[in-house]
């Protein structure tokens, strides 16, 4: 199952992404912060289920408006309080996941979703995962092979890609959780797509001209990993 997460709060969004990935039964196909971004993302990545916080930034019940307006196969409401319950079930909400989230609650919820979502959706789990990038108000949807690296700075993350640099609404830990296999953490603030690494010389040269620092304590591990994936290089 491919999941879209809509949650306005940075920490809560990352946490939910990590918990969903940890269940192993679903993949996070995108995570966004606002109802507007969610509408666009639903159209672009066609998720099987959308986890949405009822109270998106600034109060009100924007999340519910999203459920009412945007068509998606299934919705799960992530909320502190199961209010609007009747409304929600009439709108085709499959389940609630209550805050504070736990691994158990998310797993139970995904089980219930799996029982309710059409079989087609479950077979679609192999569709490519996209990364939702943002520049001002415009969204872009990147394939993993277009990504050079993710960079974190305080509570902002950005993705460097063949199509340019964009903001990402997720922490490196959450990105690592959902795209783990393809990416390597070379520094506290950097996740690199091994496919695009071109040089290792103290720092990494990734893609066309992106220079990425490698943390001293990770240098050996990074070097070994790169070499393990490479043929024709002589180990000294």
């Amino acid at each position: 199952m491919r999941v879209l997460v809509v949650e306005d709060e940075w920490a809560a969004r990352n946490y939910l992404v990590e918990l969903i990935e940890a269940t192993g039964v679903a993949q996070v196909a995108g995570a966004v912060a606002t109802a507007d971004d969610a509408r666009e993302a639903i159209a672009a990545i066609a998720p099987d289920v959308v986890f949405v916080d009822i109270q998106l930034a600034g109060g009100g019940a924007d999340g519910l408006a999203l459920v009412r307006e945007a068509r998606a196969p299934a919705y799960v409401l992530a909320t502190a309080h199961p209010e609007h319950a009747l409304d929600a079930y009439q709108l085709g909400v499959v389940d609630y996941v209550l805050k504070p989230f736990t691994a158990e609650r998310v797993a139970q919820c995904l089980d219930r979703v799996r029982a309710r979502v059409p079989a087609r959706a479950q077979a679609g789990a192999t569709a490519p995962v996209r990364i939702v990038g943002r520049r001002k108000r415009a969204l872009v949807f990147l394939r993993v092979d277009e990504v050079w690296a993710f960079e974190a700075a305080d509570r902002l993350a950005s993705v460097h890609s063949t199509r340019g640099t964009f903001d990402v609404d997720l922490s490196l830990a959450a990105i690592e959780a959902s795209l783990g296999a393809a990416l390597v953490r070379v520094h506290r603030n950097w996740l690199v797509n091994v496919e695009h690494v071109r040089e290792l010389d103290g720092e990494l040269l990734v893609g066309d001209a992106l220079r990425v620092p490698v943390a001293r304590e990770r240098a050996t591990a990074v070097r070994d990993l790169l070499l393990a994936n490479t043929a024709g290089l002589r180990r000294r």
Partner: protein, 315 residues
């Protein structure tokens, strides 16, 4: 307004009854005397109420009544309503009437309104406290903050601990609150805890600029809280990128405290009233009743400002 009209009408009826009794004591009932009693009482009470509404002192009101009474008596005498009474007696009647009017006014208008004001002030303070409690201890705020703590526990344990401490302090303060006013410093301390939780949970930054001279000025308890919450919920959180809230307090030469809560959000929606309107109503009403402050909301330079100005209260 209606209550006032009824109170004045009742007072006039009492004045009329007094005239009837007075007439009976001296002979047959004199209709023009009764009319005089009722009419002058009505005019005087209306005048006293109007002067009182302009916040004139009690002394001014007490002095006005006899002067007005004498003037009205002479007016009535000139119109022929007093027969052939000598001027000395007319003045006496006017004076007597004015003094009785002050008493009637105090009983019918001033005292009930003063009591109603005290009761409403008390009610508003309770309402403000409840609003604060609801804001900080409501399930949504608590559960979302707990969720954030769970989310941060693994990657940012320091911030998780800070949130637990801030939440604990808020709970303690909410349960310990006493008294109608407190020092601005105490209000700011409370707001900072709330702000810290908001900062950790969202991409919102707070700036504080509190002049030292303002810290000991007393303000109604939790007066600023709805303003800060409004700036967060309907301002800063609606920013696509970094939201900002700044809180400043200054004391001007005339000992007026000026508190400004400013946010860089997209501003009040024009189509519908801001959902925080109830909280803002509370602020306006408390300042009005306290009789020493004003509140206004401004929108300029892409920023929304809530401005409170209060004449310094004795601690």
């Amino acid at each position: 307004m209606r209550r006032r009209a009824i109170a004045i009408a009742l007072a006039c009826a009492v004045a009329g009854a007094l005239q009837v009794l007075h007439s009976i004591a001296y002979g047959p009932v004199d209709p023009s005397g009764v009319v005089y009693g009722i009419a002058t009482t009505a005019i005087e009470l209306a005048a006293l109420t109007a002067v009182h509404d302009r916040r004139r002192s009690v002394v001014a009101i007490a002095a006005l009544a006899p002067v007005l009474g004498v003037a009205l008596a002479f007016g009535f005498a000139l119109a022929g309503g007093m027969g052939e009474l000598p001027a000395r007696v007319v003045a006496q009647i006017g004076l007597y009437n004015g003094v009785v009017s002050v008493g009637l006014w105090a009983l019918a208008v001033a005292m009930p309104e003063a009591r109603a004001r005290t009761v409403e002030l008390e009610r508003l303070r309770t309402a403000a406290e409840l609003a604060t409690l609801r804001a900080h201890l409501q399930p949504h705020f608590l559960l979302n903050t707990l969720n954030t703590i769970a989310a941060l526990a693994a990657e940012e344990p320091g911030e998780a601990r800070e949130l637990i401490a801030a939440l604990g302090d808020l709970l303690r303060d909410a349960l310990d609150a006493r008294g109608e006013t407190h020092a601005l410093a105490a209000e700011i301390a409370w707001l900072r805890r709330y702000a810290r939780i908001v900062e950790i949970r969202h991409r919102v930054r707070f700036r504080w600029d509190i002049a030292e001279a303002t810290e000991r000025v007393h303000i109604p308890r939790m007066l600023l809280q709805p303003l800060v919450e409004n700036a967060v919920q309907h301002g800063a959180l609606r920013c696509r990128d970094a939201g900002e809230v700044s809180v400043t307090a200054t004391l001007d030469g005339a000992r007026t405290l000026r508190c400004v809560v400013e946010d860089n959000g997209p501003g009040p929606a024009t189509s519908q009233p801001r959902a925080g309107a109830l909280g803002l109503e509370l602020v306006t009403r408390r300042l009005e009743l306290g009789g020493h402050g004003t509140f206004r909301l401004e929108r300029a330079d892409d920023r929304t400002r809530s401005i409170v100005e209060i004449a310094e209260l004795a601690p």
